[in-house]
């Protein structure tokens, strides 16, 4: 297979919303992962998470990672959407969709991408506690959408 994979990477302000389905020629497996903000962190209830990126480095590193993973697992397509700013508990902050000819590479690509994301990509989150503690001096300003930097 020597097709160039279709790669889409976006940072969006606030929660990640439902996305369209995949329509990739030759696809045999689509695996979709959504990261959702847990309502409890370290045993304490949280209201939200404040996500922060370091642009443009974050987008560039995410895009490079997506291409490396897509090449290694011979994916047909990959879509990455990650939040910046405030995401309330229960809402999605991260969407990863991969499409491949077979399920094995698609599943392995999901696992490897997330492992690398948590190790290498400059993205941070800070809890906003439900008891009312504010982010204070570290309040992360909401950032505009950064579509199209790939």
């Amino acid at each position: 297979m020597d097709k160039t994979p279709s790669i889409e990477v976006r940072l969006v302000s606030g929660p990640v919303r439902a996305a369209r389905g995949e329509d990739v020629p030759g696809v045999g497996a689509v695996v979709r992962f959504e990261g959702v903000v847990r309502p409890v962190e370290d045993g304490r209830p949280i209201e939200a998470l404040e996500y922060e990126a370091y642009e443009p480095m974050t987008g560039r590193e995410l895009t490079a990672l997506a291409h490396r993973i897509a090449d290694r697992h011979r994916l047909l397509a990959m879509r990455v959407v990650h939040s910046t700013g405030r995401v309330p508990a229960g809402a999605a902050s991260f969407l990863l969709v991969v499409a491949a000819e077979h399920r094995g590479p698609a599943i392995r690509a999901i696992e490897e991408f997330i492992d690398r994301l948590k190790r290498d990509i400059p993205l941070w989150k800070v809890p906003v506690w439900a008891e009312g503690e504010s982010p204070g001096a570290d309040h992360v300003a909401h950032q505009p959408d950064h579509a199209g930097f790939a």
Partner: protein
Amino acid sequence: MTLRVKLFGPQARLAGRREIAVELPGPAPTCAELRDALARAAERLAPSLAASRFAVNQHYVRDDHPLREQDEIALIGMISGG
């Protein structure tokens, strides 16, 4: 020279600021020297520094990378995307 280091997320919260200025001697101190100086300048950051990396002008660099006063330096640690 004075180097300014950007802080993010939990490390910014630990330090209580978004940027920290550090004085280092010599014409081209390295990131390793900056790491040691940061531990002295902001003790609450010290436990997280060994597992942190530096980005200079928006690119990851190694610990032996020489620094200039005009560099944009970012401390990339305690990352937690996803």
